[in-house]
């Protein structure tokens, strides 16, 4: 069940390269196994954060102060494209990230964020670029503010931008809703649908193990 998200004022790290894919966010070998939760934070962006000898790459933004404490990522276009691996979101979450701001995200990554209490915000590229520039201007000291209920972002120098979000997604995050429990409350409707559908499309429902 996701942790509720309401307001945040935090250090933000711009990672502006276009098309950062989920393979780059977390390498697949870190995700092989059923006991991986809690082990992923140190491997987030592993191929960018570490040099081939395993030492930290001092150039990479999350290895520099104050960005080590970043809870917000300001991202380039199409961040989180590629694989459906929710491990990419888990790795960000375990690294301490609570929100990502960009002009567009991979569709599956975007959905996975909400499931884990991470707020993905889509705004125009000019706004994203402006936020990144302000963060850099203040050498990371300038915090970004997010108010989910009011649907606003406040930039390091105090400019406020409104963002749009699916109201259902917003309410889910604000309350930290458990979707499975919610859906199961209406299981009788699911079962009624299945019974009617089985009469209409029997080839879907009778897969050879029931009849």
């Amino acid at each position: 069940m996701p942790k509720p998200f309401t307001k945040l004022s935090a250090i933000a790290a711009p990672i502006m390269r276009t098309n950062i894919d989920t393979d780059v966010i977390i390498r697949i070998e870190r995700l092989v196994g059923n006991g991986i939760r809690g082990t992923l934070g140190k491997w987030a962006f592993g191929s960018l954060r570490y040099l081939p000898d395993g030492s930290e790459n001092p150039e990479f933004i999350l290895n520099r102060e104050p960005y080590r404490e970043a809870e917000i990522l300001v991202t380039g276009p199409n961040f989180g494209c590629g694989s459906s691996r929710e491990g990419a979101v888990w790795a960000l979450q375990e690294r301490g990230i609570r929100a990502v701001i960009g002009s567009g995200f991979g569709d599956i990554f975007f959905a996975n964020c909400f499931q884990n209490g991470i707020l993905p915000i889509i705004v125009d590229k000019e706004i994203v670029d402006g936020l990144a520039a302000e963060v850099e201007l203040t050498q990371g000291a300038g915090r970004i503010g997010i108010d989910l209920e009011a649907q606003t972002i406040t930039s390091p120098i105090g400019k406020t931008y409104r963002f749009e979000i699916d109201p259902r997604r917003r309410d889910g995050l604000l309350e930290g809703l458990d979707e499975v429990a919610q859906t199961l409350r209406r299981d009788d409707e699911i079962r009624t649908f299945q019974a009617a559908d089985a009469a209409q499309r029997p080839w879907i429902h009778f897969t050879g193990k029931q009849v």
């Binding site: 502006m16 276009t18 276009p77 884990n116």
Partner: protein
């Protein structure tokens, strides 16, 4: 006034709505849920920890593909891979879920076996914890990848909450030139429109070139929808589709087949349906494609030159090209053909079906893999493997110096320790040339099976059109 027509997406979507959740979001019934070894048992264990049961085990099917070894005899599956396999066996059995296990007909890459077994059907809604689930759209299904939390939701409820996507139609028109395949068509589209062009859309592929494609080629097209940004890709079912589905293990039979067929014939988009976006591609101009960079949109014709960042005005784009060239170890402006390769991988949910292996074997037949190149053929399923052996394709490959391996995902995503040596160059029939996708520092060039076979023989990226007989 005439009613606006409905798209295939509208028709399939509406059929699956259990109730409306909010304005544009519905609770949808999931007809088929496919599980694999990387996330399947995790989801089942997650459910158990919440004291929940699998809602509809008869609509759920599992197979190991990601983490098992493709080595002969499955030698070398990692300890953790074996644990995942063991736990998939235990948990599916405990929940009454059909598992297609290693060495059994039915095992294979989820996106190969779904259609092959007749589990994936026109008009059905199919999900799997894997982004290439869009592959099944080649039959006229609504199929898409989901994350782990959504996977748990499907296990517990047999439903998914989803916002209705926008619709896009991509028309491929004209007759495909010799040596150009479905893989080249979809890579050309991604090169033309970019990897984010399909974000937020369900894409329907249409036009004369799609109509002409065999069903297996349509799977390849739909498979790369996610590389175009779209979770969902689909092709309207037609007589080829019905012929493909008929007689498969889980396909309807007799009177039920006739009923299903009648329903499926209603699925194609109405002639007056309006799409939110349309793109048309002239396939007569497409050449065999090969990627040069670290994103599927970094793609050119095999007779083309590697882009030169110096000619790009936009600083962000220029920097991106420089990063890609640096990672790939390529020289700006040089011809891509002739670039020496170390590895060739023929396999993956994109290109591991019988027709793919035939196309590669046609190039390999009577020739030899160049010295220093390691070339693997990994069939997509146990059935593909057996069918290929029955027609002697394994011999064609091994006599040419290719390694013939066991079905699975293998080197497409390197979840099983099967990796390209760091710094080495691979031509791969898979779907992603991301940084490190085939292993740390691996340099991947995506291409069709015929082009990959040509690279193995030439020892370098090669124009398959000069090698065809």
């Amino acid at each position: 006034m005439e009613q606006p027509g409905r798209t295939m997406l509208d028709k399939i979507w509406d059929q699956h709505v259990i109730f409306r959740v909010s304005d544009d979001t519905d609770l949808l019934h999931v007809d088929r849920h496919l599980l694999h070894d990387l996330g399947g048992s995790r989801g089942l264990l997650d459910l158990k920890s919440r004291d929940l049961k699998v809602h509809s085990p008869e609509l759920t099917f599992a197979t190991p593909d990601h983490a098992i070894s493709s080595a002969p005899g499955r030698a070398g599956t990692s300890k953790i891979g074996l644990e995942l396999l063991g736990s998939l066996r235990t948990e599916t059995s405990a929940s009454g879920i059909q598992l297609f296990d290693v060495d059994e007909p039915g095992q294979g890459i989820v996106h190969v076996i779904g259609p092959e077994l007749g589990l994936s059907l026109p008009g059905s809604l199919i999900v799997c914890g894997d982004s290439h689930t869009c592959t099944h759209g080649g039959l006229g299904a609504l199929a898409f990848g989901i994350g782990s939390s959504e996977l748990t939701h499907v296990l517990a409820t047999q439903t998914l909450i989803h916002r209705r996507p926008k619709t896009m139609r991509v028309k491929f028109e004209g007759k495909l030139p010799l040596g150009v395949t479905a893989k080249d068509m979809i890579l050309a589209l991604i090169g033309h429109a970019g990897v984010a062009a399909g974000t937020g859309y369900a894409v329907e592929y249409a036009g004369s070139a799609i109509h002409d494609l065999p069903v297996e080629g349509r799977f390849t097209i739909c498979n790369l929808s996610i590389e175009f940004g779209a979770k969902m890709g689909m092709v309207a079912p037609d007589d080829k589709t019905y012929q493909y589905v008929k007689g498969r293990r889980y396909a309807p039979e007799g009177a039920m087949w006739e009923r299903a067929l009648k329903a499926w014939k209603q699925l194609p988009s109405d002639a007056n349906a309006v799409f939110d976006k349309e793109i048309t591609i002239d396939v007569t101009k497409i050449k065999p494609q090969v990627t040069w960079g670290i994103s599927p949109e970094h793609v050119i014709g095999v007779d083309g030159n590697i882009p030169d960042p110096a000619t790009v005005e936009d600083p962000a784009r220029r920097a991106a090209l420089e990063t890609a060239l640096d990672y790939m170890g390529l020289k700006a402006g040089a011809p891509i053909a002739g670039t020496p390769v170390d590895w060739v991988f023929i396999g993956s949910c994109t290109n591991s079906r019988l027709s793919d292996l035939r196309a590669a074997a046609e190039v390999a037949r009577g020739r030899k893999v160049a010295p220093g190149v390691r070339a693997w053929v990994v069939p997509g399923s146990e059935t593909v493997k057996r069918d290929a052996v029955a027609e002697g394709l394994d011999k064609v490959f091994t006599e040419a110096g290719f390694e013939w391996r066991e079905p699975g995902c293998s080197m497409c995503l390197a979840a099983n320790g099967e990796v390209v040596t760091p710094g080495q160059r691979s031509v791969s029939t898979s779907n992603r040339n991301f940084i490190g996708r085939q292993g740390p520092q691996a340099r991947t060039h995506l291409a069709s099976p015929a082009s990959a076979a040509a690279a193995a023989i030439a020892g370098a990226i090669a124009d398959v059109r000069t090698m065809e007989r």
